[in-house]
Subunit: 259 residues, 2 copies
DNA sequence: CGCCATAATATGTCGGAGTAAATCAGGAGA
DNA sequence: TCTCCTGATTTACTCCGACATATTATGGCG
């Protein structure tokens, strides 16, 4: 907090984000969306700590060079995600971390916009190591042919591109996503965003170490085979191995330093 | 959709929600909050199905007897939770269920505002049956004295009040919440809202059967003892038993009919 | 010294005006 | 006849200024 936000975005209305078609899909297409992104990342990065109270609407909106309406809509977004709460006369206050919807895809993106908090990444991995083996087990029991087809496709894509490319990483996410969908459990699918982020950062950390110590394809293939065969125990076991390896890689590269 | 929303809330500004102090904590304290609640429950209950497009801003806001500002802020809330998306000329459309942030506490509340979807309750239980044993294991490894104290308190409260009272159910939620917190995993704590809803509906369903077939205290005490003793395997095992029993009770009472 | 009424202040709500963008229709060209 | 481009329309988006409401702070009164 202290004095001021290093105002970027000054008077840029719409960053145009490329040419047209919305290919890159920037942070927020609308003004209030961009504002929410800006304020959200500021909060997630600790610029505004829990308990801090934001400047008054009129003053802050003017400082940010936006109308009060746009500012308020951005605040409503943050409120909806549990980051802040505003009361008349008291102002808008940043809520404690427990209230934040950290599993919200957007909040997750904001958390990873800057330097990600290593402790949070660790937590996310731990969650993943709990969810995914169980998900693989359920998937083995309930998968449809279509589910298996999607997994095969994703695995094939992983083979074609490697994890060093964005396409390869996307295929990796698709593979894990397909498993979660195959559980037929909606609550599980919702977690795919969080799990996906964890998977993404796995490969990201692996990139940093520049090792790629292990070919991920066989491990993934083992999971797929078990699920396709309907062998629940084998699926859970194989996914457990996969997750443990990822956790290990990440831990070691995190110890080496977050930067 | 079809013709109109059965407009309640007409010109009621602030339901006053009791006296003061915000004890009961109604759906939405502000107008746009109440609107978001209204529209959110309408979407979650299926009144507006995925793919449906809402009436235009001006028309709908007028129909709901609110200003466009308030209406827009409500829509921003729904957008933030992944329920709808709006684009110029195209209007505001309800997104497919996969995009909904079903783990968001508010969305969860909206989902349970009317008759809860039995399939969703089942999914939530399944998630709980995966998370909680693992959480109990982690809690056994990492619990602090303060954590154990909180669990003891919650269990004592469960003993005092029974699960037939709201205080007892709150104590039940507190117990499970304390375990999640004891894991030291922030991502886990965030799930407490979802898990809490599952726990709440367990007891709710039990109430319906009017059986209360089993005294829950010993099962909970077994979990607590294992965690306090630092026995990870025993903690996971004991919690597994607890969750399985709850799952069984709920399944049988769900089969008897959701109403 | 403590309680209650009053005033000050910031959020909440309102209504309207103007801008930007996406869709649809129409026309020119192949 | 079909395709592509161009314009017009519709809709959400942004801005502005004002009023209403709720909460806190203040000061007087018992």
């Amino acid at each position: 907090m202290t004095d001021a936000v290093p105002d970027k975005l000054s008077d840029q209305r719409n960053p145009a984000e490329g040419a047209k078609g919305g290919a890159t899909r920037g942070p927020g297409r609308r003004l209030h969306g961009a504002l929410a992104h800006k304020l959200g990342t500021a909060i997630l990065s600790g610029q505004y700590a829990p308990g801090d109270v934001l400047p008054g609407e009129v003053a802050f909106a003017e400082e940010l060079k936006v109308s009060r309406s746009a500012y308020r809509e951005a605040i409503q977004v943050l409120t909806a995600k549990g980051l802040v709460a505003s009361r008349p006369k008291a102002g808008t206050k940043v809520l404690p971390r427990e209230r934040w919807n950290l599993l919200d895809p957007e909040v997750l993106a904001w958390a990873f916009a800057g330097e990600p908090d290593v402790a949070f990444v660790r937590d996310l991995f731990e969650l993943r190591s709990i969810i995914e083996p169980a998900a693989a087990r359920l998937a083995a029991l309930r998968r449809s042919k279509e589910d298996v087809r999607l997994m095969r496709e994703a695995l094939a894509a992983m083979r074609r591109h490697t994890l060093t490319t964005e396409a390869g990483r996307a295929a990796d996410r698709d593979f894990h996503d397909a498993i979660l969908r195959a559980t037929g459990n909606h609550a599980m699918v919702v977690l795919s965003a969080s799990i996906g982020a964890a998977v993404h950062w796995t490969t990201q950390f692996k990139q940093r170490t520049r090792e790629l110590p292990r070919n991920p394809i066989p491990d993934h293939a083992r999971v797929l085979d078990a699920i396709a065969a309907g062998d629940a125990d084998a699926a859970a076991e194989a996914m457990g191995v996969l997750v443990d390896l990822a956790l290990e890689d990440t831990r070691s590269s995190m110890e080496r330093g977050p930067g």
